[in-house]
């Protein structure tokens, strides 16, 4: 089983490394910003103290005209510890923090070609939200 706790500056190296390994993009400054006090940045740790995964999110009001909701910005689980409920434990821990802040909805954006992460959020009971994301390449 894993333990969930708030991320600290000392976790950033392992977080960046896990993210780089899974996404191929290195963005240490982005992860450092997730430590901001208004954000929730949580890590899952194995019994041996290794990083099993992390989740980041924040309560935001009136983003794109929508009333306050908890936004999940990122979630990653080490493939070696997948299928053991690490992702669900991280999601539940973040959702509990959102509820403590008084919001009743959780929201995220997903690459529609990424079936793995889409299925994960579906399995948490999430369905299509009220917004449609639009996009255009600038000339």
């Amino acid at each position: 089983m894993v333990a969930i706790r708030p991320a600290q500056a000392t976790d950033l190296k392992a977080i960046s490394a896990l993210d780089l390994r899974l996404t191929g993009s290195d963005k240490p400054a982005y992860w450092r910003e997730m430590l901001a006090p208004e954000r929730h940045f949580l890590v899952a740790e194995t019994g041996k103290g290794a990083l099993a995964g992390f989740i980041a999110g924040e309560v935001r009001a009136w983003e794109f005209g929508q009333p306050a909701a908890g936004w999940v910005f990122a979630i990653q689980v080490d493939p070696r510890t997948r299928l053991r409920g690490v992702g669900s434990a991280l999601f539940d821990a973040l959702a509990a923090r959102f509820k403590e802040q008084g919001v009743t909805r959780v929201r995220t954006l997903v690459d529609r070609k990424d079936h793995l992460i889409l299925s994960f959020f579906r399995a948490q009971g999430m369905t299509a939200g009220p917004s449609l994301q639009l996009d255009k390449e600038l000339p």
């Binding site: 529609r112 070609k113 079936h115 889409l118 299925s119 959020f121 579906r122 399995a123 009971g125 369905t127 299509a128």
Partner: protein, 131 residues
């Protein structure tokens, strides 16, 4: 989104059987539950059986049970057994015109979203969170 009758029956039958994999239901039981003919359901069960999702059969009285993996099988897996694959569609007249191409882009966008949605919902998710 419009699904063919066979597709809807395939989804109904798979989900009903997957609800309790230990339970056996005949095509007559399932047909009665969904208010359709035993014949149309027997055909659908034949397709599901050939795909390795259900097992059983032998006439109207023979029972079927679910033998797939609820966590791995998605709604898209069932839909794909009955609906033509999006890329396999015959070209419609006018598709090569400028307007036809522009319209096709919109229709493809809708298909991609529909497919992503169907692919993201496993049978397990569907049965755990009836929406």
């Amino acid at each position: 989104m419009k699904l063919q009758t066979a597709t809807r029956l395939g989804l109904y039958a798979t989900l009903e059987l997957a609800r309790d994999p230990a339970r056996t239901l005949s095509s007559a039981d399932l047909a009665e539950r969904f208010g359709v003919s035993t014949h149309s359901l027997a055909k659908v069960l034949g397709t599901l059986s050939a795909a390795g999702l259900v097992q059983g059969g032998r006439g109207a009285a023979g029972g079927y049970r679910f033998i797939g993996n609820r966590r791995r099988i998605t709604l898209m897996d069932i839909v794909a057994l009955f609906e033509p694959a999006p890329g396999n569609r015959a070209k419609e007249p006018g598709e090569d015109t400028e307007i036809g191409t522009a319209l096709q882009r919109v229709l493809t966008e809708i298909d991609e979203i529909a497919e992503a949605t169907l692919r993201s919902v496993s049978l397990e998710t569907m049965l755990k969170h009836p929406m």
